[in-house]
């Protein structure tokens, strides 16, 4: 254990009082950080120092701190979630940084995600996309016995790959077009693959993609930055599947 070794880092952090404030970068020093601190625990330390100095701490979204709720959302040195493969900000650890490093921390930046304060953005646009059709219209109660719907294992596995999406929005933040194609395609594909979801597949893909555009998300131009940013490794092949579903829906 090398707990005795600590790092000092320079943080350049986006501060913005509210949605109307133009916002600017501020510089802070993070001291006494060990390699075992998670990135958010490093920010906790900085915030405790700020509070003790009578200054406003940096606000950022976070909740489960185990990489599954999708709440944390920071662009670190230009990469959503910090660029470590399949890792959310809350699971990023300071051993990935060196003593003396300068770290830039910004919120998700996309037209469809207005900034609320500092590093917190409004992601309700993603909820709107799901509300447009990210479900099967089954009623509570009255479902048939679960084993009356047989699903080949490879299909179930592929649907689960798509269902891994945690809705954090890193794909949007990573995309040069601010597109939510990976997010939308993950849900479209999960349900289009499964027999339970096929019945409404055509209406679903139409409604979800049109809502995506209404919400101000861009389109896909095959940069694959979304897949690189995705902490759950959701694959761009689902975008291709969504496009196929979309074309199919035109003839449905």
């Amino acid at each position: 254990m090398s707990d005795h070794k600590t790092m000092t880092l320079t943080l350049i952090v986006w501060r913005q009082k509210n949605a109307n404030d133009p916002g600017k970068f501020e510089t802070y020093s993070a001291k006494n950080i060990t390699e075992h601190h998670s990135f958010l625990e490093m920010l906790d330390v900085v915030n405790e120092d700020l509070i003790n100095d009578g200054k406003e701490p940096i606000v950022f979204d976070h909740d489960c701190r185990e990489g599954i709720c999708g709440m944390c959302s920071q662009v670190i040195n230009g990469a959503p979630h910090g660029g470590q493969d399949r890792t959310t900000v809350c699971q990023l650890h300071m051993r990935k940084f060196k003593d003396g490093d300068t770290i830039y921390i910004e919120p998700w930046r996309a037209r469809a995600f207005p900034i609320i304060k500092d590093l917190i953005v409004d992601r309700t646009a993603l909820d709107k996309i799901i509300q447009a059709g990210g479900y099967t219209s089954c009623h509570t109660g009255g479902a048939p016995d679960a084993n009356s719907i047989l699903i080949p294992k490879p299909i179930a596995e592929e649907a689960t790959d798509a269902a891994e999406c945690i809705g954090c929005g890193a794909c949007v933040a990573g995309c040069p077009n601010g597109a939510a194609m990976l997010f939308t395609s993950a849900k479209v594909s999960q349900l289009a693959l499964l027999p339970q979801g096929k019945i409404e597949a055509a209406a679903r893909v139409k409604n979800m993609t049109s809502t995506m555009i209404e919400c101000g998300f861009g389109n896909c131009t095959n940069h694959y930055e979304c897949q690189a940013a995705c902490p759950k490794g959701v694959n761009v092949k689902f975008i291709a599947r969504m496009n196929r579903e979309f074309i199919k829906a035109q003839f449905a």
Partner: protein, 638 residues
């Protein structure tokens, strides 16, 4: 007062069906006249809001996160139980009920557990219809895995992320209702008070976490689905935002708090690395199937690398103490034993808070490939957090607070003692008794939300006139003023210590004195110390910023203030319960082999506490527990 759970009488097998028939129905055309508030959008809240909206009620749903999809149900890994008996290995509704009652150490209500077991099968059907991708076999049928406390394979799962997939199923259901307009969703709202008018729950007071505005919402019934309270220990496996606040505000308005001392400490979590640590991460209990748990025999060896400690200097203490069960000893025993080893100075890793979980023998026996197939994702998660490769060096694990079996008291209809206030999921006390079995939390949340509340709330609503109280009522104004006053007070103290410092201090006292092993001395000490921290908090806490904006310090300050009151109640309940049962272990009451020693003659009851004022002794009310179907027996897994 002797509390009555209003459970149906007669044969248990017909109890829920009979009760459903006896419940009065709300006319379909009248449903839209009723407003229902649902606080929290986890498995219980999400399922309830979606189902009630679909029935035609006007639902207003609230969550503190930015989306209903983020509730901490999402973090559950292992699976969800159901009595489907698909593997044909002898399962039945009665067996699931038996396992749950026994696992809970005979401190739960039989009728509630029967109902849970009965509807468990509907849950799986429902979730499959929603498109939840459960694990399947190569013939396309649903697959099952085994879990602790059961001799049948009844756990349905979706990789190591069952909670996520079930929650997203409920989220999709609620999203559909939001689109249809039957559910109105309020994100980033925190409930800070329950509004009670003439003894009846009529609404809630919230803080809008973006604007800071204090908002009032009226309804004909309020459902709290606000989860558990183990963040009272500061470090736990819960999300950072999980708190007792909603339940505690209701308790302060007269709702009884039942069995707060029943908390579950999970044995396989990644140990704390330093003082700065903000949360603990759980790894699925399945890890214990192939790992051997040990600590160095000699204290002077704890600083050595594990490979420098020869076999004869290792103490495989679970195998030594519990030869028949070994490393698969029940959760409470495993957790307590780990703490004992560490308290004796033989713990490993930073601060001596850890024991080894060693895969070397299994890798030798089965190959690294097989271990990777079974636990690869957990080894990966472990490495991401600790930077250690568990294929090469033993994992370090330590117990962590994980789940609260206690919660607000409810009757069979899930209604608290305040008419109109319903409590669902982990927030109530109803089915897990003194200990919850693995894969049963998801089952309860969805059972309450999809299959219980849609029936029982109707029975209540037929007795009230819709829209009788509006937010212009004096009680709503008073509640909003009270919330504003507390907010202003927190901001005006401007002391010297941060909110987190107080939370950590409370957590240490709770963990050391009210944690895995409790004694009269430790509990008395906690009851003495907690009010001191509380007093200092209200005189010396420092909360920056204002109330009229997004202010996370202020949010957290309110939650910690409530934990500082609630922690004392938890300790008092633990002190009064002179027995050991499930997750509540009193060192004075144990069998010679270290197992919990229950006292059925004096404590076979639900202890429900009535709040009497901060710093004042609460009043205990009892609901006697009767065991007519499953007979009282000493819990043994040997």
């Amino acid at each position: 007062m002797i509390l009555d759970g209003k459970c149906p009488t007669g044969p248990i097998e017909q109890s829920w069906d009979k009760h459903r028939f006896d419940l009065k129905l709300v006319n379909p055309a009248n449903k839209r006249k009723y407003n229902i508030i649902v606080v929290g959008t986890g498995l219980a809240g999400g399922a309830a809001a979606a189902s009630l909206g679909e029935l035609g009620y006007n639902v207003q749903a609230f969550c503190y996160q930015d989306s209903p999809r983020r509730a901490h149900s999402i973090a559950a890994q292992g699976g969800i139980n159901a009595a489907k008996n698909y593997p044909s290995d002898g399962d039945s509704i009665m067996r699931l009920m038996y396992d749950t009652i026994k696992g809970g150490d005979f401190r739960a209500r039989e009728a509630d557990v029967w109902r849970l077991s009965q509807v468990s099968n509907n849950i799986i059907d429902q979730c499959v219809a929603q498109g939840v991708p459960f694990g399947r076999d190569y013939a396309g049928y649903l697959d099952n895995r085994s879990f602790g406390g059961a001799q049948v394979s009844r756990t349905f799962y979706s990789r190591g992320e069952t909670g996520q997939q079930l929650l997203l199923g409920a989220y999709s259901a609620i999203s559909r209702q939001i689109k249809l307009g039957t559910v109105k969703m309020y994100n980033r709202r925190e409930m800070l008070d329950l509004v009670v008018v003439d003894g009846v729950a009529r609404g809630i007071t919230c803080r809008n976490l973006i604007s800071g505005e204090i908002e009032s919402y009226a309804a004909d019934a309020v459902c709290l689905c606000t989860g558990g309270y183990v963040n009272v220990f500061y470090l736990s496996t819960n999300a950072k935002g999980c708190s007792v606040t909603a339940s505690w505000k209701a308790a302060k308005k007269g709702a009884f708090f039942a069995n707060p001392c029943y908390t579950q400490i999970h044995p396989t979590c990644i140990p704390q690395a330093g003082e700065y640590q903000s949360k603990l991460t759980l790894m699925s209990e399945s890890l214990r199937n192939d790992g051997r748990i040990w600590v160095p025999k000699k204290k002077e060896d704890v600083g050595k690398r594990p490979d420098q400690i020869p076999e004869e200097d290792r103490d495989y203490y679970l195998e030594r103490k519990y030869p028949s069960f070994g490393n698969l000893a029940p959760r409470d025993i495993s957790s307590r034993s780990a703490k004992e080893q560490c308290d004796e100075g033989r713990g490993v890793g930073p601060g001596g808070r850890g024991v080894y979980l060693d895969y070397a023998d299994s890798i030798k026996r089965l190959s690294e490939k097989i271990i990777c197939e079974r636990y690869g994702n957990l080894f990966e998660m472990y490495e991401r957090i600790t930077d250690d490769n568990a294929y090469k060096t033993p994992m370090r694990i330590y117990p962590a607070p994980h789940y609260s079996m206690g919660g607000l008291w409810v009757d069979y209809n899930l209604m608290s003692n305040i008419p109109g206030l319903f409590v669902l999921g982990e927030a109530n006390f109803s089915v897990h008794g003194a200990n919850r079995l693995g894969a049963s939390a998801l089952m309860q949340g969805l059972s309450d939300g999809y299959f219980v509340i849609p029936y029982t709330i109707g029975g209540y609503l037929t007795t009230v006139k819709p829209g009788a109280v509006k937010t212009d009522h004096a009680e709503f104004k008073k509640s909003a003023e009270d919330v504003s006053t507390t907010t202003k007070k927190l901001l005006s103290i401007n002391g010297k210590r941060t909110v987190t410092e107080f939370h950590r201090e409370l957590g240490k006292i709770m963990w050391n004195n009210v944690g895995m092993a409790r004694s009269k001395e430790s509990l008395t000490e906690a009851i003495k110390q907690i009010p001191k921290i509380r007093d200092e908090f209200w005189n010396n806490v420092k909360v920056t910023g204002s109330g009229a904006e997004l202010n996370q310090q202020l949010e957290n300050a309110g939650r910690v203030a409530d934990f500082l009151e609630f922690g004392e109640l938890l300790a008092r309940d633990a002190l009064h319960r002179e027995e050991s049962c499930g997750g509540h272990f009193r060192v004075e009451h144990q069998l010679p082999d270290g197992e919990a020693k229950r006292n059925d003659a004096d404590f076979s009851y639900v202890g429900a506490w009535e709040f009497k004022g901060v710093g004042k002794e609460p009043e205990l009310h009892k609901e006697p527990l009767k065991f007519e179907t499953i007979h009282l027996a000493v819990r043994s897994y040997k």
